[in-house]
């Protein structure tokens, strides 16, 4: 049973990081119906900013972590203002193509820095001795990662449900014209959605970077890695991102723990989530918690 519980704990850890990474996609899609393909680059950028502020500037890592989220908040908001604001009302495919271009630009910018081609790791700021309970262990890095993820997701959920701006964002998501007719500034909402996605991406980047080390390739690829989570959860659901993240994390760990290496199987941990995703989408095409829109024609 210890083995089973270890897999559960590992699955939840991985799943919650997936959820936080997926959150950026959801926040933008929820308000603007746009998929930001450059999300992985923002995740990587956030992690690099934390490192730069900690090691090059000398700030305490906790301060750098918060500062990084503030910086990416404004950076993402600027990106929306400069590149995407003009595309409001244009076909969605045009906007997605712009985000692909944005990915190239961000790649180029990061390659101009040492982070583009060199590997780094955060200075150790947490105890290296893991926490063990009944033979099940979790590292401090993982535990802190899960706690931060829970806090951020809780804060975003509250924001969308209770705050005036959050409710405005949901209104824009439901019907842009109706939202405008009651005085909500749609461009402002879009900017804010990007900014919040940037903030969550920085948080995710710092957590992932602390686990894998700071390698641009690994961090940048994470935007695509979590894509099945976003689809499974339903593109516009925060709860969906959390549930799907944890489902994916658990599936991967159980596949690695019980299938891989047995009966000639290998790599099922990478493939099985996609198979399950396909099966679920057959029955729930909008994902587990996605909005099912019925249009009258």
């Amino acid at each position: 049973m210890t083995y089973f519980f270890q897999l559960v704990v590992s699955g939840i850890v991985v799943g919650s990081i997936y959820a936080l990474s997926a959150l950026g996609f959801v926040l933008i899609y929820k308000s603007s119906r746009v998929l930001n393909i450059a999300h992985g680059q923002i995740i990587a950028g956030g992690a690099f900013i934390v490192y730069a502020l900690t090691v090059f500037v000398g700030l305490p890592i906790y301060v750098s972590f918060v500062a990084s989220m503030v910086i990416t908040f404004f950076l993402a908001m600027s990106v929306e203002r400069i590149f995407l604001r003009r595309l409001i009302g244009e076909p969605i495919i045009s906007v997605i193509m712009v985000t692909i271009g944005l990915m190239s630009i961000l790649n180029g910018v990061i390659y101009l820095t040492p982070f583009g081609s060199l590997n780094y790791s955060f200075p150790e700021f947490l105890p290296t001795t893991p926490i063990s309970l009944g033979g099940v262990s979790i590292s401090w890095t993982q535990l802190v990662g899960v706690i931060i993820t829970a806090l951020l997701i809780g804060a975003f959920s509250w924001f969308f449900k209770r705050s005036t701006i959050g409710i405005s964002m949901r209104a824009v998501s439901d019907d842009q014209f109706a939202a405008m007719s009651v005085g909500i500034s749609v461009p402002r909402v879009f900017g804010l959605a990007w900014a919040m996605a940037g903030l969550s991406a920085a948080g995710a980047g710092a957590i992932i970077g602390n686990i894998t080390g700071l390698n641009f390739e690994t961090l940048g690829a994470f935007g695509i890695t979590v894509f099945p989570v976003v689809i499974l959860g339903g593109l516009d659901s925060i709860v969906g991102a959390v549930v799907a993240g944890i489902i994916m994390g658990l599936i991967q760990q159980f596949a690695a723990g019980y299938l891989d290496g047995n009966w000639g199987l290998n790599g099922t941990a990478d493939v099985l989530p996609y198979i399950i995703l396909l099966v679920i989408l057959l029955f729930k095409p909008h994902g587990l918690f996605g909005t099912h829109e019925i249009e009258r024609v």
Partner: protein
């Protein structure tokens, strides 16, 4: 830290000897070379310092007149790890009159191998995949192939395992030809009598947590994990093993796992990524590392300083690797000139094939001489085992040649 002055002197003398012997066959010529590699994109963490190593050695060769008053022009182009771009770069270089090509990735070399053969141009790749030697007779590996490094690690395990019975090992490999090719040679070595029990082959993904994998391997009695991949997945594996208390503190510690790997799994980048979890990691390569002071490493650090490189680049084994590739190319040109031959693709190819017997080339960047012939296109045959101790790589024993590979 006290430097080995005599050794350093030996490097300077060797370079001076090169200068003395470099009576120019044709004065004032410029030899056109070319380097195409991933300075950005996948594997650029290796490609970037490699390119700087080539660039610095070429500058050094021109600055110090190793080729008399002849010069080398070696443009460096980023191919972003894309074969199509690499091919375009190669063709552009040919149009510029290139006589020696420095290439990079396994895939691009395999794709371009027929072209190398067709235009009969000597090539030194950064990849050490043994299949490249079969793909074209014009490809010369700088050091021992991945297969040699991997089987070298395996032979060390077989020879030094202290427990009862045959050592149980697992292979942790990159899901590509780069990861699989050495495994095939490893399996051949086991079939040929190398006493190891290969329990499982793991082709890794982008895992954030390897608890399941590690516990499964431990439950099967695996004591050694042999890695053939790049540093990032190894770092995550080591971090997880440390968290689960599975990492062997000494080689072969019973009940724990000793992690080992070939060239691209190790180096300072692994320590940068894994931190203290890298302690005890065993690694093979044919290059010397700057944590082991010696004449070459002193010289390497001085070169890096001279050309304004940062500490990370200066101490990278990929920087040394780039320097050595450039060194072999320059040496081939120097010897061809010395023989009063016109320096062309064809004569450089002949010169490389004659680098054997009393004509071996000793580059102090590696742990053995560079030897080539028409039947041997793997430069340095020796590998050196290193282990991470107190945050740096330290050598274990002497350089050796794996016995189970020809």
């Amino acid at each position: 830290m006290k430097r080995n002055r005599f050794g350093y002197l030996a490097v300077v003398m060797a370079v001076a000897a090169g200068l003395a012997c470099s009576a120019p066959a044709v004065a004032g010529e410029t030899y056109q070379l070319g380097l195409s590699l991933a300075i950005t994109g996948p594997t650029s963490d290796a490609g970037n310092p490699y390119s700087k190593g080539v660039e610095d050695y070429m500058r050094f060769a021109n600055d110090t007149g190793i080729l008399g008053d002849a010069k080398i022009d070696c443009p460096i182009r980023d191919d972003m790890y894309e074969t199509a771009v690499s091919k375009r770069n190669f063709e552009d270089f040919l149009d510029q009159g290139m006589i020696f090509f420095l290439s990079y990735a396994t895939g691009a070399n395999q794709a371009l191998a027929p072209d190398f053969t067709e235009v009969q141009i000597p090539v030194i790749p950064a990849s050490m995949d043994s299949s490249l030697m079969k793909a074209s007779p014009y490809i010369f590996l700088p050091i021992a192939s991945y297969s040699h490094q991997y089987v070298g690690v395996a032979e060390y395990v077989a020879a030094n395992h202290k427990g009862d019975g045959t050592a149980k090992v697992a292979a942790f490999i990159h899901p590509s030809a780069f990861g699989r090719a050495p495994l095939a040679d490893f399996e051949a070595a086991v079939a040929a009598g190398l006493k190891l029990d290969l329990v499982e082959v793991v082709e890794h993904g982008k895992d954030l947590d390897n608890s399941a994998l590690l516990q499964r391997l431990a439950s099967k009695g695996v004591q050694y994990v042999l890695c053939q991949t790049v540093q990032s997945p190894v770092a995550t594996l080591l971090n997880d093993a440390q968290r689960l208390g599975m990492t062997a503190k000494t080689f072969g510690e019973p009940g724990k796992i000793t992690f080992m790997g070939a060239h691209y799994t190790g180096g300072n980048d692994l320590i940068a990524l894994a931190g203290t979890a890298a302690e005890g990691f065993h690694w093979t390569t044919s290059y010397r590392v700057t944590s082991e002071k010696g004449p070459w490493t002193d010289w390497q650090l001085d070169m890096a300083k001279k050309y304004g490189r940062d500490d990370k680049t200066a101490n990278s084994h990929n920087y040394a690797s780039g320097m050595m590739a450039a060194q072999v190319a320059v040496e081939a040109i120097r010897r061809t000139r010395e023989a009063d031959q016109k320096v062309t693709k064809e004569t450089l190819y002949e010169t490389l094939n004659q680098m054997n017997g009393d004509k071996v080339f000793t580059s102090l960047a590696a742990v053995g001489p560079v030897t080539y012939s028409t039947t041997d296109r793997m430069g340095v045959d020796n590998v050196q085992l290193y282990v991470v101790k107190d945050g740096v790589f330290r050598s274990v024993g002497q350089p050796f040649k794996p016995k189970y590979l020809k």
